[in-house]
Symmetry: C2
């Protein structure tokens, strides 16, 4: 069975780490006898926008919908195209039109990676953030009135649907069930955001009835961010709305020191459309073009993709290879952000070899 | 000149730390010859709600508006009254009706307080979070449709006005001007929240024109929370919307290890209504009634109140007294949360003595 993967490298370091992601995937495919077929697309980047006046061609949906997965680099280059145009014109379209309603990110202390938190070591922190990925605070409903005057008022709706909330909660509860600690934490702010957030809480209570073996707690987002720093060991599966999930899934990897190398999966669990896998880091215009970007986020995203395609063992092997190369700590191999003097390619090759 | 202070202790440990806050204020008033007059109110607590069916009496506005400041403990006790009722019925009313449009919180590494961040010491972290405190994501506009069905949809508006955004930005820029580093960081999410947040960014650019000597940068809230953990030394004055400010002003003190002792000021800069001073910590039902709550947040809030009333030297003296007692590290005096075996009263008395 051939798995067709669409490659969109995007902008900046996205184009530099992508080849290493592919290298690692090819090595894994060979070892585990998986049949991957890659097709590369130029759209979904700011350069494409500058040429065509849009981030994607009109028929992007038709072009991509038949693939088994999308492997994305990074998008955005504010000096060329404002972020809200480049992101809404690409990544956020994929998430929404392909109904990738789960954004999943592991927060894990890795060997050889320095955590900014005092006294934490590998094994201490290991949790997932499950983020709602299609609705909530990221709406396109709203507008401006009395523009340009002192009475100017700008309004944007947060929109939560029962369908949207329940399905992300269901996914999170089922994920918690696969974990040894069977614990789920809900991010809320029902003490301040008085309409949507109490609704979110209600749906959590309702959903929890179907999962009596899961220990459920909730925190308001303000103190929850504090607890990520103070008690990262408390967490197992954390579920949040689009915005809260966004925040927590950057803060979590920051606490484990892995923000530059963390992966993320935008998943359509039913599989009626392709899911999308991308590193957490952005396009990093400041270091783009130097060949020094760390490719681990891209490679680790590839591991999540293989797991999603049904090859858990192969995905695990990729993560193990990453951990091995990090543990070895060879400065000629590692990139600068993790204490080495190597390049994107030297680190990518070492991981491919380890696989 | 007599300054009339309204005291509202609220719930849980609010009622325990308040007497220590008053003790410290009285000591300071004596030393600096300030004339303070306290009046105590029972409303604004969950017990009041249970008795009267509302958090505040109908004429609360009339009763309180003539005071020079409100000194608040903590409100909320979810087992008695749901948070969105207790908070919206009290604290959030004060903030809104008294137009306390600034929420100001210092994030400062203090001597003797362990930061959860590796390798940081007093002096390394010292910044302010300025939060918009009356509008934005904390709106009361919205509702539910198709209730109880699969089509259920819940909507809540974020509302930003030019007046509301500009005045908090102005305050933040002027605060930055009083600081040696003259740096301002704006919290945004204009790449995802595509209507209100680009507007916020626009107003920052506009306001910055009037303050050419201030160095301005901005971060999206997700990476900004990460940077609080990774680079807390980058920040000087950080300004954010109601929700973003809320998150950052818990996360900031968490990073400095001071979340249990940090103060906050809800300020009406024009002074046409009283400002409100309260510790960052909540009512902490879990430790209420044991006499072990740390009163520093309440005392430090008192210091901010004196500074607001025009007694900067007196406020500074209170903070110095706190720092002294923390530095001494006498375990019989300090409460458990900061490594001692003392009580709310032992710590409160020590600080009052130091003053
Ligand atoms: C209790 C809650 C409504 C409040 C807020 O979010 O404003 C609190 O978290 C705060 O920051 O003062
Ligand atoms: C780039 C931005 C729109 C995006 C988001 O907020 O969803 C990013 O931060 C992410 O988390 O994937």
């Amino acid at each position: 069975m051939t798995h067709r993967i669409a490659i969109i490298a995007g902008d900046g370091i996205g184009t530099e780490v992508m080849p290493e992601g592919i290298r690692a995937l090819e090595a894994t495919a060979k070892r585990f006898n998986i049949d991957l077929e890659f097709a590369t697309f130029e759209f979904g980047s700011c350069d494409y926008y500058l040429e065509h006046g849009k981030m994607l061609p009109d028929d992007w949906f038709e072009q991509l919908k038949g693939f088994d997965a999308l492997f994305y680099g990074a998008v955005g280059w504010p000096d060329k195209v404002p972020d809200h145009i480049s992101l809404w014109g690409s990544l956020l379209q994929f998430r929404r039109r392909f109904d990738q309603y789960i954004n999943l990110r592991p927060c894990k202390l890795m060997p050889g990676i320095k955590s900014p938190l005092a006294g934490r070591k590998p094994g201490d922190i290991d949790f997932y953030v499950v983020r709602e990925n299609t609705e909530g605070e990221y709406s396109s409903v709203g507008g401006k009135m009395f523009e340009g005057t002192d009475r100017e008022v700008v309004i944007q709706d947060t929109v939560m649907t029962r369908t949207g909330v329940d399905r992300v909660l269901k996914y999170a509860f089922e994920l918690a069930q696969t974990r040894p600690r069977k614990k789920l934490t809900s991010a809320t702010k029902s003490n301040g955001i008085s309409i949507t957030m109490p609704y979110w809480d209600e749906r959590v209570v309702e959903m929890a009835k179907g999962y009596p073996e899961i220990a459920v707690d909730k925190f308001h987002i303000d103190i929850l961010t504090a607890n990520f720093v103070l008690h990262p060991d408390w967490f197992d599966v954390v579920v949040g709305s689009n915005l809260f999930g966004d925040i927590l899934s950057d803060l979590g990897p920051a606490c484990t020191g892995t923000i530059g190398i963390a992966p993320s999966a935008n998943i359509n669990p039913e599989g009626n459309f392709p899911s999308l896998f991308e590193p957490v880091h952005g396009s990093a215009p400041d270091i783009a073009g130097k060949g020094i970007a760390n490719p681990i986020g891209q490679i680790w995203s590839g591991a999540m993709m293989l797991e999603h395609l049904g090859y858990k063992e192969a995905g695990d092997a990729m993560v193990t290879a990453i951990e091995e190369v990090l543990s070895e700590g060879d400065a000629t191999v590692l990139t600068r952000d993790v204490g080495g003097e190597g390049t994107t390619a030297s680190l990518g090759k070492a991981i491919a070899n380890a696989i």
